[in-house]
């Protein structure tokens, strides 16, 4: 990685960890994870299993909030506040800026997901659960999904406003969890055009269920390395394609 990308990534990471809102969200997330005991009390079933269940959902939920928040504000903000002028007038290629930003944000998300996962692991232990490595494996899946969302947010940021970028990113997140169902229903149609269309849409839209291993962890069925590898390569190819598109759009951008 060239030094310039590293500098931009490091600066982006620094920006997020100096952001007070981030700490507020993180503190709230940790509180909810810590309180999952009380949530569990209302439900039926095995206590520790439900702590993992609720905790992972919590990591997922807050992770998405943070990803959308920093993905949108940071990339769009650079253009709105014109800090981007100071960076791009230096010997920096435009794609290096996009990649550096995405790398820095991914670093922040790694830290946040790790902190939440460690807290969940400890809470789970405190309530008498066995050491559960699955928490970290499921969190890794959540993290990969968040990185994909960052790539999408960067793409939307290159051509639209912060609010629209946020809406598009959240829409992608929602659709990304049901795109497989779309394929399923579309595939049952008698009209070939509908089948092709649903298949085309399925491959164009992100399939975020690729990264969802929460249930397997809760029910004690750890995923095999093959599935992890599969998810990793999906992230590399799909996320890479999205980021490439973002770079291409950004390269032609005329700054206001």
């Amino acid at each position: 990685m060239p030094d310039r990308i590293l500098s931009i990534a490091a600066n982006t990471f620094r920006e997020t960890i100096r952001n007070k809102i981030m700490y507020a969200i993180l503190a709230f997330a940790l509180l909810v994870i810590g309180l999952s005991y009380f949530l569990a009390d209302l439900s039926v079933g095995e206590l520790t299993r439900i702590i993992v269940d609720v905790g992972l959902a919590c990591i997922h939920f807050f992770g998405v909030i943070v990803a959308v928040f920093i993905g949108i504000t940071l990339v769009n903000q650079e253009m709105e506040r014109r800090t981007v002028y100071l960076i791009l007038s230096k010997p920096v290629r435009r794609w290096e800026f996009v990649v550096g930003k995405a790398a820095g944000l991914s670093g922040t998300l790694a830290l946040i997901v790790l902190v939440m996962a460690v807290v969940l692991f400890l809470v789970h232990r405190a309530y008498g659960g066995r050491p559960e490595a699955g928490i970290f494996i499921a969190s890794a899946g959540i993290y990969m999904e968040l990185v994909l969302l960052i790539c999408l947010a960067s793409l939307f940021s290159t051509f639209t406003t912060p609010v629209l970028s946020a809406i598009f990113t959240i829409a992608m997140f929602l659709v990304g969890h049901v795109s497989k169902d779309l394929l399923f229903f579309g595939g049952r149609s008698d009209v070939p055009a509908v089948r092709w269309l649903s298949e085309g849409v399925f491959y164009a839209l992100p399939n975020l269920e690729n990264f969802n291993w929460k249930n397997e962890v809760v029910y004690g069925k750890l995923r095999s390395a093959g599935v992890l590898l599969n998810a990793g390569s999906y992230l590399v190819f799909y996320g890479g394609a999205v980021l490439l598109l973002a770079c291409l759009l950004f390269a032609r951008k005329d700054f206001k």
Binding site: R14, E15, Y85, K90, D254, F255
Partner: protein
């Protein structure tokens, strides 16, 4: 002396932006051409909205022209990052990452310029000192005043000792002291062999500093040249004569001045003569009318007058706010 090699060349550059609901394109620059020679200080003048910032953005490849050629160091603008290492750019009202300290920001810039660690640390300290920010390097930019931001903007543009310095309104937001410092800084850059292009609407700053001036209005060039070329003919606009005591109306009539050439100012009578010859013809006639000459002063034509001629009165258009020039 303007060098033969041109560091910046614009050739018939046009730029438009889509505007309004139908995204109709509105022309911002039309067929703008000018150049900046090596080791020149060139002032880029024009009223608000003339297109100065747009032109400067095009030079830095932040905006892309619709048509025309833009060459910097002989290469098409924005083609290679290596060219940008030789340029220092300060945008208009620069805005920084406010969570960084001034020093941290300059070090980030140093990294992006590809400076070595030793060179960078030395240069950051030097720049902070030179721009009067020595005590502020460790302060977060959020706490900077407007003038401090402006100074930091200059510091980041000069950090890597660039050959070509492009500044968009470097004096705006500065106190008189700060403006003086920036003037001196720009002069020092020229002495050090650098080339400077800066925009401004403060005519006196441009007049005091520049070898050459490029004046634009509504996206079109209205004047280009050295100060002497623009002001022309030795630059004397008229000769101001002050006589006292004020002659009586009857004796004044005998002097037979052209209409509007004279006026009473307190207990003196002020006359505008076209040139020194006319002044010399007038002096004895006033002596006969009983008034003695107290002062005789050639009033030079200033850049501001040219500016008013070419810009404010251009095409019989009226401006709600006259351009600032003081």
């Amino acid at each position: 002396m303007p060098g033969t090699d041109r560091l910046v060349e614009l050739e018939r550059v046009s730029k438009s932006y889509p505007a309004g609901f139908w995204r109709r394109r509105v022309g911002i620059l039309s067929e703008l051409s000018f150049s900046v020679g090596k080791n020149e200080i060139v002032g880029f003048l024009g009223p608000n909205g003339a297109g100065k910032t747009t032109t400067i953005k095009i030079l830095n490849h932040l905006a892309i022209p619709d048509s025309g050629k833009v060459r910097v160091f002989g290469e098409e603008a924005g083609q290679s990052p290596e060219i940008r290492r030789r340029i220092g750019f300060m945008p208009e009202q620069p805005y920084f990452y406010e969570y960084l300290t001034g020093g941290e920001f300059l070090r980030l810039c140093g990294h992006l310029y590809g400076m070595g660690r030793g060179e960078m640390n030395r240069s950051v300290g030097e720049m902070l000192g030179r721009l009067g920010l020595a005590g502020a390097g460790g302060k977060t930019i959020r706490k900077y005043s407007k003038g401090m931001m402006q100074r930091l903007g200059l510091a980041q543009a000069l950090l890597h000792d660039p050959e070509l310095v492009i500044l968009d309104e470097p004096m705006s937001g500065l106190d008189p002291m700060g403006r003086m410092e920036v003037r001196n800084l720009i002069r020092d850059l020229k002495t050090a062999g650098k080339t400077v292009l800066f925009s401004s609407h403060i005519v006196s700053d441009v007049e005091a500093l520049c070898d050459r001036v490029v004046m634009i209005d509504r996206g079109k060039k209205v004047a280009e040249g050295s100060l002497e070329e623009l002001v022309g003919g030795g630059g004397v606009q008229y000769v101001e004569l002050v006589f006292s005591p004020v002659p009586s109306p009857a004796r004044l009539a005998a002097v037979s001045l052209p209409p509007d050439a004279g006026s009473v100012l307190g207990d003196a009578y002020v006359v505008k003569a076209h040139d020194t010859e006319e002044a010399n013809r007038l002096i004895p006639r006033f002596r006969e009318a009983g008034a003695l000459v107290r002062s005789c002063y050639p009033v030079k034509k200033r850049l501001e007058d040219i500016y008013m001629e070419r810009v404010a009165r251009g095409d019989g258009r009226e401006r709600a706010v006259p351009p600032v020039g003081s």
